[in-house]
């Protein structure tokens, strides 16, 4: 954790980590006997099921929960489904997890093979949605966005993570091949790749233009890249995708290239793990591996009341279970010792102004939080720029009163969405 320096005339600067120069081959985590995969759909007893406990699945089989489901996930192994249950995330988003008891045999079901020679968006979306890196095919197919620009995030967005840089450094050719496939299937010609300034990387990307990002957080976040490098300001409450720019992780590009080259779905991804002693390990794990398998393989200990952070320290989330699986978009895991966990408080804002001077989006956080604490979400959005927040978390990081500001903001946005949905429904029924 980066602490406040003794002298601090200006706002603190948090530095992104740069990848080490002596790269080691990532440690390979063996496939565990029991795999857990997450599906972005809720359990609903009123719908006709398509898959149930006791079914056997093949490697590469797409798992749909219900007959008319459009969401799917791809099984990384051959085995029997022993359990299907609900998984609750932040803000009560409910998804479903499958536990698959692995068999020794490996039966492949490769529906994708027939389409692998002719890259098309439709077939890619049909078979490759759960590739490592989670390629956002739905963003391209959605009517609401007209994507004209692709940005590959070679610079990691959050602190302490170097996974994206690792991909850029090690799989340069595959990124190029992946870009060609992406250009072909989406018809997008304007492609950028973000690279940290300090990373020595020559521009061998041909038509792809490089965006050099500064070493300071939050300069690699999408909204800031849009503002600083693409000269587009995302309107408050809108998204980069709505503005026609799609951000995609280098791992997604690489796995796309591999999938088309090998004519099959791929399941292995790179994850950086930081243990309590602050040393990092890079591992290659199969999607669906419970994280405790990785910890035990690396001999990392966790104790009661530690915090397990998936993602970075500024924007990630903390998981409550070691059975949390490796998901397609998981780049980074940090184990934080209980002694390193800073407390938050229910003190009121003391108006010290540190959040104002650090906020990259000029949000009047001091006034905003007073409204959010009082549940005045609409006022917060109308007069205090709730929707301008780019969710970097810096306000919480510096808060002297230790108010969980970022949490208030996320909750405010969430409640506002519910409120707006409710109003829309009432208007429709009226």
């Amino acid at each position: 954790m980066i602490k406040r320096p003794f002298f601090q005339l200006t706002s603190p600067k948090l530095r992104y980590d740069l990848i080490e120069s002596d790269l080691k081959e990532p440690e390979k985590i063996p496939k565990p006997p029991r795999m857990i995969i997450l599906l972005d759909e809720q359990l609903d007893s009123t719908r006709k099921i398509r898959i149930e406990e006791g079914d056997t699945v093949k490697t590469g089989e797409r798992l749909f929960l219900y007959r008319n489901s459009t969401e799917y996930t791809t099984s990384p192994c051959t085995g029997t489904i022993t359990s299907i249950a609900s998984f609750t995330g932040d803000f009560g988003e409910v998804s479903t997890y499958f536990v698959i008891e692995r068999k020794n045999s490996n039966e492949q079901l490769n529906e994708f093979e027939a389409f692998a020679d002719k890259p098309e968006l439709e077939s890619a979306d049909r078979f490759l949605r759960s590739l490592p890196g989670k390629p956002p095919f739905q963003t391209f197919t959605s009517e609401a966005n007209r994507i004209h620009t692709l940005v590959i995030t070679g610079a990691d967005m959050d602190l302490r993570s170097t996974t994206c840089q690792y991909h850029v450094v090690t799989a340069f050719d595959e990124i190029k091949a992946g870009i060609q496939i992406l250009e072909k299937i989406t018809g997008i010609t304007q492609v950028f790749i973000t690279i940290p300034e300090a990373l020595r990387q020559n521009n061998g990307f041909e038509k792809t233009q490089m965006i050099r990002t500064t070493p300071f957080y939050p300069d690699a976040l999408p909204e800031i890249i849009m503002k600083d490098h693409l000269n587009t300001i995302v309107p408050a409450g809108s998204t980069c995708e709505n503005a026609g720019v799609c951000f995609i992780s280098p791992e997604a590009v690489i796995s796309l290239a591999r999938a088309y080259r090998e004519k099959t779905h791929v399941y292995e991804k790179i994850v950086t793990i930081t243990g309590k002693n602050k040393t990092s390990h890079r591992v290659k794990a199969t999607i669906g591996t419970p994280i405790h398998r990785i910890f035990s393989h690396l001999d990392l200990k966790t104790n009661e009341k530690d915090r397990i952070i998936v993602g970075g320290p500024m924007k990630g989330f903390s998981t409550y279970t070691l059975y949390h699986p490796v998901t397609p978009d998981m780049d980074n895991i940090i184990i934080q010792d209980r002694a390193d966990i800073e407390y938050v408080s229910d003190y009121p804002c003391i108006n010290c102004g540190k959040c104002i001077s650090i906020c990259p989006a000029n949000v009047p956080v001091n006034l905003l939080v007073r409204n959010l604490e009082a549940d005045r979400y609409e006022d917060a959005a109308d007069f205090f720029d709730l929707n301008s927040c780019i969710e970097c978390g810096l306000c919480s990081y510096v808060c002297t009163a230790r108010i969980p500001l970022f949490q208030y903001i996320r909750l405010g946005k969430h409640q506002l969405q519910l409120l707006e949905a409710e109003q829309k429904m009432e208007a429709a029924n009226a």
Binding site: A236, G316, I341, V344, N351, A361, S388, S396, F406
Partner: protein, 322 residues
């Protein structure tokens, strides 16, 4: 699933810069210490008595209010202690105990707690207390009378009162070095200019007070005093005299910068500070009070919510879909 550890689950960010309200207040008190200690050395035991009584009773009032209002105990954030200390620094060294007791009641209960406690104070609590005392018991704020029995080896006159009564002829009675080094009559913590500046610069460097407010306040004092002096040098004293007398430096570093009642955006901070300096000199030069700092700060506290509306446009605000 077998029994497993329970992990701490909370929301991002998982890092914090480690700052707390209590460290902030302890730092402010430490920064005020040089000036306060000098005052105690200069004016002796009565000044120490006032200082300790103010700090302790401020904390006691807060504790009492915590009990009465059935809320969490908040004295551990040292905000009451800090308020009591700053309040005591503005008092004459021989203030009677009951005035101190009333003053800390006014500061903590009337100035702070009834508005909702820390962060909710529209005015600086210490200033509220001093202002009410000043209006109610004017006699106790006659610094000359307060130290009548003392024997000093410098001009035994309160500079601002002398200026008020004798005009600019009084300015020559005080050498600038005496004023800076604390050889003047005034409040316990307000006489030692060099000490206040040192403490204030420490706070600015540590990031606990906002330099914009301090600098613009001093600039406001300077510019206004220069204009007055240029208009009539026989009637009005120069900027340096104003800067090192009365509560000016305390105001610039410890009073105007009080978090809850001051703006946080850049331009508002400049307006706020400059307005404070301007009002201070205005009250001193054409008002009835010898020192205008207290009322000037009350006034800028009052306009703070209004001027703090001037703020930069938030990202993505007013942008039409590109």
């Amino acid at each position: 699933m077998h029994k497993q550890n329970k992990y701490t689950v909370s929301h991002a960010p998982f890092w914090h810069d480690g700052d707390t309200i209590s460290t902030m207040n302890l730092n402010i008190m430490a920064a005020a210490l040089p000036a306060a200690l000098f005052g105690i050395l200069q004016f002796g035991m009565p000044a120490l008595g006032v200082m300790t009584l103010a700090v302790s009773t401020a904390m006691l009032w807060e504790l009492l209010f915590n009990f009465i209002s059935k809320r969490d105990i908040t004295i551990t954030d040292y905000d009451a202690a800090m308020t009591g200390m700053v309040f005591a620094m503005m008092l004459p060294p021989t203030t009677p105990w009951w005035v101190v007791l009333t003053g800390t009641f006014l500061a903590i209960v009337i100035g702070k707690q009834i508005y909702g406690g820390i962060g909710a104070t529209p005015f600086n609590p210490a200033i509220v207390a001093i202002a009410i005392l000043m209006v109610s018991w004017k006699g106790f704020f006659d610094f000359d009378a307060a130290v009548l029995t003392y024997d000093f080896d410098f001009t035994p006159l309160a500079p601002l009162a002398a200026l008020k009564h004798q005009g600019t002829a009084a300015v020559d009675l005080f050498s600038l070095s005496d004023l800076i080094m604390g050889n003047q009559i005034g409040s316990t913590g307000g006489v030692f200019g060099a000490g206040i500046i040192a403490g204030g610069i420490y706070l600015i460097l540590r990031g606990y007070i906002r330099w914009e407010i301090t600098l613009s306040y001093i600039a406001g004092i300077f510019i206004t005093a220069i204009i007055f002096q240029a208009a009539n040098p026989d009637l009005y004293a120069g900027p340096l005299f104003h800067l090192f007398t009365g509560y000016t430096l305390l105001g610039a570093f410890f009073l105007a910068t009080m978090n809850a009642a001051s703006p946080v955006n850049f331009i508002p901070m400049l307006i706020y500070g400059a307005a404070g300096g301007f009002m201070t000199i205005l009250i001193r030069n054409i008002g009835v009070y010898p020192d205008g700092t207290v009322f000037a700060i009350l006034i800028i506290n009052l306009i703070n919510p209004l001027i703090d509306k001037i703020r930069p446009k938030a990202l993505g605000r007013g942008v039409n879909n590109a």
